[in-house]
Subunit: 189 residues, 3 copies
């Protein structure tokens, strides 16, 4: 089986850019990783099973169905034989609080080798969100972002206890995306 | 089954006031929640089983008995069909360190939907404890309260990983109890 | 069965000194604790099983073998009848991120009663590492040490959720090692 690397980060941290730059770096060396977005993968499983017709219906599924879908998706990703990056959230901020992106039933199937937290200072994330005109996001203040990132670290620790995966923090500060990508590439090597 | 909402907070944070105000708000809208105190509920189970005669004897129980009681109490609360608030501690500070209020064997039975952390700044908690003449508490400094609240967040993250419950932080600062109650009411809705 | 106390701390925090001083204090009172280093214990199990010939080979073992060794070591320590101190790391910093020292399969066998985090300010740890000429360590900055200690707390919370062990923080600041030892002695009593 290949290596399974979960990559997480709060909205606006620049996760996708860091992933793409890191993949470019290691591909130059002949290393390759497949890549799945956990939410998209779950949606595809739901489509196949005839549970939903479009992505909007995903949110309306009963909790039991959602959890079963999460488990099936994790199981299938767990069976992929090549090295793979799983793009997901460590926790999702919902109106009812922080929700684990990789609860026990997902972790037991997925068995990740590494969980990466892409982070940067809360004020930089706030600026990046403010300047991103393509998305309308619920605006969250500095303190909220700070707390979310701290909570993600605590959650990742619990993931590490349950699975024995390592937890790696990749910092992606303004003007230093190449450094962040080099760090992630080193983790992927 | 109804919704199970665990509400926690360090001593002096004003948890009971926030809960009562939030319940008053949602009752105006026709919503209702039952309410149990986990410790009291455990004591009642112990009385029924003839394990203890008074609350003092609870502390003297063997660890195996205490854990079995916790599990039975959690099981019974888990079977309650209405919406319910469970008033307990995220962690309890003991002479041997922080003790989880909802260890694995409790969580597996209880299956909470939401764990709420009622928090405020450590200095405000310290002031509230100092002005509360009805209780004699072991006095703890600013740093101790700060650490306790931070540790509670980490513990709550582990609860979220195991059960998939959301973790919600309700801030209860001086002069803003109505705002805290409104936030909790929103979570309970 | 005796009490099992896991004692952890980042490199340079002075864990061994605090343990030895605390053991001296309680031995004066007639209390006794055995003591094992988890890594050394694992190595001895590996030697017995003919898996390795020297300590260097430990690192080259397949992950499945390492985990089985961890589990066997934890099982044997779990069966020790006297009070015992287990000297290990809460998390180990590796090139792939923080690795749990007591993942689920270890905790389930070991069933610790208490996990102690020996801590002090990151700048003091940095100074102690710089002045320790006997070891060549990968140099880590202030921020890295701060993050490592915070992450250890989060990890310890997850240990507490799974096993019901208490988590105790013993601070070992400059010039106050006797106070740290007295605190640890109180935990061991």
């Amino acid at each position: 089986l290949g290596r399974k690397v979960v990559i997480t980060g709060v909205p606006g941290v620049g996760k996708t850019t860091v992933i793409n730059r890191a993949l470019a770096l290691i591909e130059e060396e002949g290393l390759s990783y497949g890549s799945v977005n956990f939410g998209t993968f779950m949606f595809e499983v739901a489509l196949e099973e005839g549970l939903v017709r479009d992505r909007d219906e995903m949110r309306k599924l009963a909790q039991a169905d959602q959890r079963r879908l999460q488990k099936t998706a994790a199981q299938r990703i767990g069976e992929i034989e090549q090295n793979i990056i799983i793009d997901t959230h460590c926790t999702v901020k919902t109106p009812k609080g922080y929700l684990s992106g990789l609860p026990e039933w997902v972790l037991r199937e997925l068995q990740p080798d590494i969980v990466v937290l892409v982070e940067t200072d809360a004020d930089q994330i706030l600026s990046r969100r403010l300047s991103d005109e393509t998305r309308t996001r619920d605006m969250e203040g500095y303190g909220g972002i700070l707390t979310h990132q701290q909570f993600n670290r605590s959650m990742a620790a619990a993931y590490g206890m349950l699975t024995g995966c390592t937890v790696s923090i990749v910092t992606n500060p303004d003007f230093l995306v190449e450094k962040a990508a080099a760090h992630l590439a080193e983790i992927l090597r």
